[in-house]
Assembly symmetry: D2
Homo-oligomer: 196 residues x 4
Amino acid sequence: MKWTYKTSGIPDNLFIRGKVPMTKEEIRAITMSKLRLKEDSIVVDVGAGTGSISIEAAHISNKGKVIAIEKNPEGIELIKQNAKQFDVKIEVVNGFATEKIKEIEKIDRVIIGGSGGELKEILRLCYERLTPSGVCVINCITIETIYESIKFLEEEGFVDMDVISVNVSRGKRVGRYTLMEGLNPIYIISATKEDV
Amino acid sequence: MKWTYKTSGIPDNLFIRGKVPMTKEEIRAITMSKLRLKEDSIVVDVGAGTGSISIEAAHISNKGKVIAIEKNPEGIELIKQNAKQFDVKIEVVNGFATEKIKEIEKIDRVIIGGSGGELKEILRLCYERLTPSGVCVINCITIETIYESIKFLEEEGFVDMDVISVNVSRGKRVGRYTLMEGLNPIYIISATKEDV
Amino acid sequence: MKWTYKTSGIPDNLFIRGKVPMTKEEIRAITMSKLRLKEDSIVVDVGAGTGSISIEAAHISNKGKVIAIEKNPEGIELIKQNAKQFDVKIEVVNGFATEKIKEIEKIDRVIIGGSGGELKEILRLCYERLTPSGVCVINCITIETIYESIKFLEEEGFVDMDVISVNVSRGKRVGRYTLMEGLNPIYIISATKEDV
Amino acid sequence: MKWTYKTSGIPDNLFIRGKVPMTKEEIRAITMSKLRLKEDSIVVDVGAGTGSISIEAAHISNKGKVIAIEKNPEGIELIKQNAKQFDVKIEVVNGFATEKIKEIEKIDRVIIGGSGGELKEILRLCYERLTPSGVCVINCITIETIYESIKFLEEEGFVDMDVISVNVSRGKRVGRYTLMEGLNPIYIISATKEDV
């Protein structure tokens, strides 16, 4: 059940999920887009959850490296299972992002799906390690995280900030009808480290 | 100004646009995702407009072929200019889809961005030429086209239909504020030709 | 627990609900708005469900009449319970709209929340009985019903059609965070019988 | 051209508008709903703009009082014209809310459509003057104002906070098609002063 396509947005039901929340396929497609990956990018996935974003990134940056940081042991197990199932190489790191990012020397792309209340410190640590023109993407589901993402990215010195909100509804066939069901809105914020 | 990334969702402002409406970058990212392209896919872009989707497809299916069909001469010119600017190869076809599709032997992926009121006939022609497991994606902006897409895809024998609506809002920085501005909702419908 | 306010949009949790789906408070507020009720309006609620819309209407058109038609006995019971709880007078009619509307002589406003696949016939029957400048509002949750509502309203001779889609998300407080949760999109279509 | 209906959500095109931004009819309907007006409510409209919300409130609280505060002279003129046109009584106050609210003794309902960067102080002044069970509603269009509204309402001691975001799209008839056009998302935050 490997993913044989060159495009992102792997269907949700192809992942092993457990009870860990997962970024939906349409949001993953946009997230990949905002990350602007290269084949050889070094990508860090903070709060990797089920690893669905790490797996998408690993498909594209297959000559670089994907590091998935997750503090929840259940998540760690899921990331490993999903990586195996999709036959991609992911460096799975169990622990707190504020500690584990310090052990990474150089980052080209960082995607933050969960920050455990340490967003400012995580952004600071990432900024230090980001290569010039490196990209940071933050996926938010709460008003407070959106606000803080915008604020901290600016304070930290990131440029070219881009903020979007995305509401996806999915059609469910019921007899001859297509019933539209709303997913939760997601806010995707991205910014770049200046290329000096 | 070539696009050097491996991900879709090229920023809108990198395209030459004129007055032809263009699929926005987030919608392009999801559209690519639903198309499930391979490197060697033969992709047909019906109602190609500015060619923004063709260009995204050409970046990914660079060992296949991308055919952009557009009846509007202004669009044809824009597609050529954009293809040149992004340094990708696109077969640009000026004319009505109902005629021009007949000249294509085999299609792996078709994306319909505009059908000029001939959706049913276009879907029929595409279905005949689609390879097994071939994918058809339709981007709609009107209630009538959504309804007809669902209806015709089913009638034509497509399977695994997927219907989503996507509302994107973009944050515009005004002083210290981030003002959210709504884009038009887009409905993305995709389906597959059964692999018998 | 009567509703002592003059505005519509009674909180969802004030209704007795059972397992019958209910129009959410924000959608009810907009639905009332599109209905343009007068104090003495004769209002028919087709597919009344829990009666939440009938109850809102009864608060405003308290010198007119509200007739709630519902085929599901469980719904009938809920409407009666809710009417009693909110201390409003509603004429509760158990049966199929295509039959029961025939027994009503004159309608000023009709709101269709459910049509049991008989939308066209219901619209025809309502149109015949609607007073000049009478208003018809249809709340839809499926692509097919939106499409058919637009089509049938036009065919039946209604004018001043208004179509909107509404996506509401609600903030749920989790610790210091406000998590946004998406509700299903609702399409509200309204039109008027010409005042000849 | 008076509004003869008992429901809120007066069509946008019935207002005299100029270049001042106006709350759209669907958002006004929900805003009224969240305000929970009584006939005799004393309502303060802060940053009243064109006065569209004041006029809706004046229709319902016609035995109470509606005070529209606006610092922009162009807005003041529009509010007066609209009040005259709809034949409702509104107390129009030209000046800064932080000064003018001080001159009001008792407030039952306050709706904040614009705060000129003084949201915290405005909320403090309103809280002091709000009667028990009084309601405060804030309509926001920026991430920063949503965040600050939630934060300040809590800090000020308001209870029963309710946060929603609303995305409305409107169908525009083009030939036989209904083209959906997105409006800007609006965030509506409401809370109550505890009834001690």
